[in-house]
Symmetry: C2
Subunit: 380 residues, 2 copies
């Protein structure tokens, strides 16, 4: 048989300023590129395995797993294939099909599919709707109280630490307390926070945390982090009857290859970059100011934003598109001319973006570019 040409090139995304929030936190530092090269081949993490991935000492995966638990201040850490796989592992081991869990209205779709795969019913805590779409602790309290009043058992409370639509940072500590007051553990989805901002699972009152290496920890995907408190270790890290060292939810071992090497190489870099989180938020706020000075551009979500992912509604761009010969494609094309990518082609009513990790000059340039594009058409 003949294979098609799969077009395995990514120059556009690698060589331009990419505003796609999904891609900003997963850019590899040079150390991780080197590790990826060393561990490119197949089962490369497993040369010196004595039975369990998280106990390998060459490379020092064991030491890394210990550091990872320290990094997020939780008792046990494991690598998984991603945040979604971590959520499923918790749900599958902790809950039975038919159980009910409480989730936030801003939950990522993978929370829904993980719960569906585990056969669980989801009850949602709604957000505050337009324009802030906030998830509030009192919403969790209300939903949990109602369920309790109806005699419904809840197996798990899940909260999205920072959601992927509005970049809203939620109050995990208060929601964790509310969950614990009703005797239910909290699973915190940190896919958009772990690796960008400091995570202290104890302070956040989370029993379980999941993170995403490819989304926010400067690692080559797919790889994620699962952290859990000791009291849940027997359940979530239950071992095989036949193979005493193998953990069932991990299917023995998880990330047996290059991604774990890249995550390991990136951890020191990630620890350093967390220290600049406040700067990142401040420069995002400045960027939002620049954008909002244009009439017809409004940031949605919590204001001022507390995260680098921001969503704008942009009737201004939509109006320009209406009279533009390229219609909705004009924005993508004007940005591309300026070496900026990551806003979906054709999209002008609203968009999400992030300037996380760029230099000050690049950040300024991105804001100015949007202003210049608008000025070009307003002057016409």
């Amino acid at each position: 048989m003949e294979c098609q040409d799969y077009g395995l090139k990514r120059d556009t995304e690698r060589n331009n300023l990419n505003l796609n929030p999904l891609q900003r936190g997963g850019v590899l530092p040079v150390e991780a590129r080197k590790a990826l090269y060393e561990f490119s081949d197949g089962y490369s993490a497993c040369d010196y395995c004595a039975g369990r991935l998280d106990e390998i000492s060459k490379p020092d995966i064991k030491g890394f797993i210990d550091d990872l638990a320290t990094f997020i201040n939780i008792d046990h850490a494991r690598t998984v294939h991603g945040a979604r796989e971590g959520k499923f592992a918790v749900m599958h081991s902790l809950c039975k099909p038919g159980d009910t869990i409480v989730i936030d209205g801003n939950a990522h779709y993978t929370t829904h599919v993980a719960a569906e795969r585990a056969g669980l019913n989801m009850v949602e805590v709604p957000n505050t709707d337009y324009p802030n779409y906030e998830i509030r602790p009192e919403g969790y309290k209300e939903v949990l109280d109602d369920l309790n009043d109806n005699g419904e058992d809840i197996s798990l409370v899940l909260l999205t630490h920072v959601d992927g639509n509005y970049g809203n940072l939620t109050d995990s500590s208060s929601i964790g307390k509310i969950a614990h007051d009703t005797g239910v553990p909290l699973l915190l989805n940190c896919a958009y926070s772990m690796g960008r901002l400091p995570i202290d699972a104890k302070k956040l009152k989370a029993d379980f945390v999941v993170g995403s290496g490819h989304k926010s920890m400067a690692a080559s995907g797919p790889i994620g982090v699962l952290g859990l408190k000791d009291e849940w270790a027997d359940t979530v890290l239950q071992r095989s009857d036949r193979h005493a060292v193998k953990e069932l939810e991990m299917l023995g071992c998880t990330s047996r290859g290059a991604p774990i090497a890249s995550l390991m190489a990136s951890l020191p870099f990630v620890i350093e970059r967390l220290k600049k989180w406040d700067e990142e938020v401040n420069s995002t706020r400045k960027f939002v100011d620049t954008m909002e000075r244009m009439k017809g551009v409004t940031q949605l979500g919590i204001k001022p934003t507390e995260h680098d992912l921001v969503r704008f509604e942009t009737p201004l761009f939509d109006n320009i598109a209406e009279n533009h010969p390229r219609r909705g494609f004009f924005l993508y094309e004007e940005l591309k001319k300026r070496n900026i990518v990551g806003i979906k082609r054709g999209q002008t009513k609203w968009f999400k973006c992030s300037i996380y990790g760029f230099s000050k000059e690049q950040k300024d340039y991105i804001g100015e570019s949007f202003v210049n594009i608008v000025n070009k058409y307003l002057d016409m």
Copy 2:
């Protein structure tokens, strides 16, 4: 916090002749190294996603998935994180906790942990024991007949196409027929075959096949292949109620990063190398002859071998070790001096190895090296 030095180097395994069977089929060709470089960053496969990984057209994952299904002659293909994750997806969607499945006595430990994780009972078809450890169709027939006679429902029959202990190639076609005669589908674990030898799922009478990119398809792990017949698509590829395009067992998407790019880049290379499978088997047989000419070295498993993974019992090396100042470490150290690695340190009673993918000169050199080591000590 300060990270430890994780020792992220793999020079020994990269720069020497590595006989570890786990590593032989996962060595990347140059095209895959380039793809890994292009797609190093985080969520790199997802720049142009419209909702589902297997439908992305840039890079052409959709075309690749179609090619993959053609490659193994089955109706549907998906990438998963590895063979074990593919097995679990089938078991979890097809069976209910408490169900019984039939597996072979040479099954990989991941078959056991996948079944345990899915809450299944396993009934084993024993192998023929020392020295061949064969899995025979009549063994499956006997076990299935017995279970039927006892009125036991069987949800799934699983067969290891080539096992990882003896490299025994099993008769899938006959066992598939036996399974189908009792109305049960067959899941064929091709972790040690897909990508090394031609797989035709229809001829092999498999309803499901799983393969391993990092083990046998020249890909950077973790990545695997799940193939299935159309009649099982509604069950195994069931979609989310909330997110119409997302498949539950895939948790929406699976290999969202570098490993899928490496598997895509490697497929044309893999298709080519299958054509040399008979040569590989012949040179392995020649290597076995060289080894067995030394008194006290015997290949276990089916003879002559039908795979590159071979297991030797080696009382000869164990005898040398007894009188050697370095004891069992002598073999590892003597091989290392000759730039050969991949036999576990300290192991002399038996070992598994593979010379798959080496040049003729390298293969000859490896055989000669074992002989030279033995001669050195027999002469002393």
